[in-house]
């Protein structure tokens, strides 16, 4: 059943996007003019916006999430551990529409005043060009970062937990400081941590509501953090219910299909990394049992 659903999603979406695939072919993904009224569909701005916002979000989220994971699993007193785990999980449980609402009325005005307060010579840089709307890439990346932090930190925590204590004890025995011992543990766990970050990336790529509400929804490619842009998930959410003609619908479904395939690949890869980490772990820790299960 589960397998049928996953395969079904792929088949159904491919079928539905055939008109657009046949009409535009690869140029769909290479052109940047999105004008449904004129029947011109180029999806490049959405790819750009999706990748830009997700990468930016990860740049913000990864150090913080790793810090949290290390703090909870290695540093904090045992009494604090459970409450902290609960609180970070709460961050993941808040519905994305609530983040979006908060984004519109609290974060965006805050970002706007930050943008207007920048000195003029900084504003001339391409990274900060454009009118200070508040709605735009920076707000989207910030809200995405908040939303993926709990995912990355909870998986990194699990991965760190699977590092054998002997690793750390060995480091301490050699006279390592706390940082050096943890660095050794992090290095040992690197595959799993990369997997955790990639899983966060997959989440960020597909996040819809919160991003739609704060990114400004403008299909223009821009390097500026302040410019309103658009993502793949957001364009589907915004325009699908209004898409009148079949070609328009099928173009939007094709965007969804590609989003599906990208997240599928990223998720599989990250699971593979986390699994391979867990497997070598089992062999190192319990060679006899590992052999028995094979």
């Amino acid at each position: 059943m589960l397998i049928a659903i996953v395969v079904g999603i792929g088949v159904v979406l491919t079928h539905q996007s055939m008109p657009s695939i046949q009409k535009f072919g690869l140029s769909f993904w290479r052109t940047e003019i999105w004008d449904p009224v004129a029947g011109e569909f180029g999806a490049l701005p959405f790819i750009w916006g999706t990748l830009y916002s997700s990468v930016l979000a990860l740049l913000i989220a990864t150090p913080i999430a790793l810090g949290i994971a290390v703090f909870i699993s290695e540093l904090c007193p045992a009494a604090l551990r459970q409450p902290l785990v609960f609180v970070t999980e709460l961050l993941a449980a808040i519905p994305s529409i609530v983040y979006g609402l908060w984004g519109i009325f609290v974060l965006v005005p805050a970002v706007r005043s930050l943008e207007t307060s920048l000195p003029d010579n900084v504003r001339k840089l391409p990274l900060f060009s454009g009118p200070p709307l508040g709605l735009g890439m920076l707000s989207a990346a910030l809200i995405l970062a908040i939303m993926v932090i709990p995912f990355i930190s909870s998986i990194s925590r699990e991965v760190l937990k699977s590092v054998p204590p002997a690793q750390r004890e060995g480091a301490y025995a050699l006279g390592a400081t706390r940082f050096e011992a943890i660095r050794a543990a992090l290095f040992y766990a690197r595959t799993g941590i990369i997997g955790a970050v990639m899983l966060g990336f997959g989440r960020a790529l597909g996040e819809t509501m919160a991003v739609t509400m704060v990114i400004g929804n403008n299909p223009k490619i821009s390097a500026s953090l302040f410019a309103p842009q658009y993502t793949m998930a957001a364009v589907v959410a915004n325009e699908f219910a209004e898409a009148a003609d079949d070609l328009y619908l099928s173009a939007l479904v094709e965007i969804g299909l590609v989003l599906f395939i990208i997240t599928l690949i990223i998720n599989s890869l990250s699971r593979l990394l986390i699994w391979s980490m867990a497997r070598t772990e089992a062999i190192v820790a319990e060679p006899v049992e590992a052999e028995a299960t094979v």
């Binding site: 994305s96 529409i97 940082f179 589907v236």
Partner: protein, 284 residues
């Protein structure tokens, strides 16, 4: 001059400080979100919110009675679809753990869990809206149900694996068939945990918006028909939040407060329940 050892110690302390700082940094948005949702929401939340219908544009007051009923119905539909399928898949994965096919099912569940909700919405649109040429509550429930299946399947699997093997072996030794052992011994032992998992899954999908926008759509009127478009709290909050009216924004905050309360209460209950379970297992 700082000695090399001093420098190493300094770096180490800085690192510890950074990690603690990261925790605080992550708590700030959580605190801010909760603060605004509660303070803004309480001001607009009143009895009318639960009992009245949305008013026409320009008139103040009114509530989201239809959306609340809609969310309940959609979650119920999703549960009716996902709970049986999810639990059966979970049983399969734990019973046949280690087989290639079970690994494939687990992989499919994890994959489905990672599929963006908007893509699930597209899928439900093509399967359940397009053929009937109408948005419907049924299509919305279908979309949410698909999102729910992998969560329930994985929870069931994990909890079944926690049941001590001796219990199953005891049942088998008494001559029970495999099915009998699973359904009368192993499953009941894991049931409280599974119920907790189902409640959490329901709370999570009640907060979903993206799969509903073009399946259940929205409905300004009160409706309990499965074949009609139906309103939901999340879509209503979305509509109100992106609308231009002050009064709508007020209502959106109230809706958000209700959503967050649902999630908070469910997570707290689930946490208490798991704790009790753990204690029971420790004693047993």
């Amino acid at each position: 001059m700082i000695t090399p050892t001093g420098r190493r110690k300094l770096i180490s302390s800085l690192f510890v400080a950074f990690c603690a700082g990261a925790v605080l940094l992550a708590l700030i948005p959580l605190a801010l979100v909760l603060f605004f949702v509660i303070s803004q929401g309480i001001r607009s939340l009143n009895l009318a919110f639960f009992t009245h219908m949305p008013t026409p544009v320009g008139e103040s007051g009114g509530g989201m009675a239809n959306a609340i009923v809609g969310t309940l119905m959609l979650s119920g539909l999703a549960g009716a679809m996902a709970i049986p399928i999810g639990i059966v898949s979970g049983i399969y994965m734990s019973e046949y753990a280690g087989t290639r096919f079970a690994a494939l099912v687990r992989f499919a569940a994890d994959t489905l869990n990672g599929v963006p909700s908007i893509v699930i919405g597209l899928f439900a649109y093509v399967v359940a809206v397009l053929p009937f040429k109408q948005f419907s509550a049924l299509a919305g429930g279908f979309a949410l149900g698909i999102m729910m299946i992998p969560i329930i399947a994985r929870t069931t699997e994990e909890l079944l694996l926690l049941v001590p093997g001796t219990m199953r072996e005891g049942a088998l030794a008494l001559g029970a068939t495999r099915a009998r052992a699973v359904f009368s011994v192993v499953l009941p032992a894991a049931l409280p945990g599974i119920v907790t998992g189902v409640v959490l899954a329901l709370a999570r999908i009640a907060g979903e918006t993206a799969p509903l926008i073009f399946t259940a759509f929205n409905n300004r009127f009160f409706s309990t028909s499965l074949r009609e478009p139906i309103s939901s709290l999340t879509v209503q909050v979305y509509t109100y939040a992106t609308g231009p009216y002050e009064d709508w924004h007020r209502q959106a905050w109230a809706g958000a407060l209700v959503l967050v309360s649902i999630v908070l209460i469910c997570s707290l209950l689930a946490r208490l329940a798991t704790r009790r379970l753990e204690r029971m297992h420790a004693r047993g």
